[in-house]
């Protein structure tokens, strides 16, 4: 199993502090009364992906971030902020 443990750790590079973001996707979604499935259907992704995004486990591409902002009636800057600015 050694090479497998090595493998799963290989792909995850530690994020530097300046790259850490705070995301407000979940709060914007709940304020609008949308479920994760509804938001997923609106932006055209799988339900699991919305969960990953809200927990900060996945950073969306710019195109997806823009679609999220449009669906949540806000801007990308409202959804994502750098950690030190908070």
């Amino acid at each position: 199993m050694l090479h497998s443990i090595y493998a799963t750790n290989m792909g995850r590079q530690p994020k530097q502090d300046k790259d850490q973001l705070i995301n407000h996707v979940e709060s914007f979604r709940t304020n609008l009364g949308l479920s994760r499935q509804q938001l997923a259907d609106t932006v055209g992704v799988h339900l699991q992906t919305i969960g990953y995004i809200e927990r900060g486990e996945y950073a969306p591409t710019l195109a997806l971030a823009l679609r999220l902002a449009k669906a949540l009636n806000c801007t990308v800057e409202d959804l994502y902020q750098p950690k030190e600015s908070n």
Binding site: A7, M10, R36, H46, L47, G51, R55
Partner: protein, 372 residues
């Protein structure tokens, strides 16, 4: 003028629809199940690799090897790979246009990582072989003492190492070098296919699954009933196949002496039974867990559990008895008959399981559910 879609395009379209319409919240979608399957696949590969390194002169270890590897390890390896692939089939089977960016990134990075790691392990193994075997070989043939008459018969360390390595490799290959080398190639292919899948499943299992909006109880029962009906149809065809494979196996054994090519037919016919046995065991376990998770139909669930248990025990008796018969060849008769009896018992259990599964499907469809 519209052109008819080709057969390949139609098959591809149907396969995509089948994956898209697969039920969510299957047992295989549970993170713990994905991890267990990953561990079984990895452990199976290591055990199989270790078994290939057992020299034939070590009778005790050879017996263990036969019981493990001959008894069922390859089947478990195939089963865990198939189930792992099924658990990740959405990401591995669907083309890019049906996946979102995260799924594409997860798939691509896992396969890339799998390739990189397997590549490096291959390089490390090659380097080790070149270093150990090549170095002793070069030292042995380039040192002058190996060509001179040595009345004291002193053995240098590199001569001893060279001879020991050669003796070990000869012993490992035994009298069937093609089989041993072929097994190594098959193992390498298995690792190349399974390792990226393991990384994919392990990463996917790391994250807490979203709770999908649960369908109504009526929809759950109907979906389960349809699932059981589909499974029991395939089950029926496979059992018919097993019934046909027995006379085919006997006939091909006789014809093998006329045309050796029938040896392949014999092998296929004998392998079909264990394949159906394993398939049926997996499907029965999945059916039992489905009924348990939905809290449905307790009497049938207990029947299926009993039948699956008896089938697995009687099925395991068959290879174990054959191995005992091979090593006890002067008194192989009783073990041989135990194997035959075990085989018939396993077939009987599976026929009963098929009937029970079919009845369960009919009862669920007609709304007869007795919750515990």
């Amino acid at each position: 003028m519209s052109s008819k879609p080709s057969a390949m395009a139609l098959y591809r379209s149907k396969r995509i629809q089948r994956v898209l319409s697969a039920p969510t919240n299957r047992v295989l979608d549970e993170p713990a199940v994905k991890r267990i399957l990953s561990i079984i696949t990895i452990a199976g590969s290591y055990i199989y690799f270790a078994s290939l390194l057992v020299p034939y002169s070590n009778k005790g270890l050879i017996l263990l090897k036969l019981m493990f590897v001959g008894g069922g390890l390859p089947w478990w390896m195939i089963a865990s790979f198939v189930l792992l692939r099924s658990s990740m089939r959405r990401i591995t089977s669907l083309p890019d246009e049906y996946l979102d960016e995260r799924e594409i990134e997860l798939r691509d990075s896992s396969f890339k990582l799998g390739y990189l790691v397997v590549r490096r392990i291959g390089l490390a193994l090659s380097g080790l072989i070149i270093l150990v075997v090549g170095a002793t070989w070069v030292i042995y043939y380039l040192t002058p003492t190996s060509y001179t008459y040595n009345p004291v018969q002193e053995v240098t360390w590199y001569e001893a190492a060279f001879k020991a390595i050669n003796a070990y490799v000869t012993d490992v290959l035994g009298e069937a070098p093609v089989l041993t080398l072929g097994s190594m190639v098959i193992l390498l292919t298995y690792v190349a296919y399974s390792f990226p899948l393991i990384i994919l499943a392990w990463r996917d299992a790391r994250i807490k699954r979203e709770v999908v909006e649960l369908p109504s109880p009526e929809v759950k029962i109907t979906s389960l009933s349809e699932q059981f009906e589909k499974t029991s149809k395939v089950y029926f065809r496979l059992l018919i196949g097993v019934a046909i494979s027995i006379p085919v196996a006997i006939l091909s054994v006789m014809l093998m002496f006329v045309l050796p090519i029938f040896g392949l037919v014999t092998v296929a016919a004998f392998a079909f039974g264990p394949f159906v046995y394993l398939w049926a065991e997996i499907k029965l376990i999945m059916a039992i867990f489905s009924l348990k998770f939905q809290n449905l139909n307790l009497p049938r669930r207990k029947q299926l559990t009993r039948l699956a248990s008896f089938a697995s025990i009687s099925g395991a008796v068959v290879p174990a008895s054959f191995v005992v018969a091979i090593f006890n060849n002067q008194n192989a008769g009783p073990s041989f008959w135990v194997a035959i009896a075990g085989g018939f018992a396993a077939v009987g259990c599976h026929v009963a399981s098929f009937i029970t599964l079919r009845l369960t499907s009919v009862e669920l469809a007609s709304g007869e559910t007795s919750s515990s």
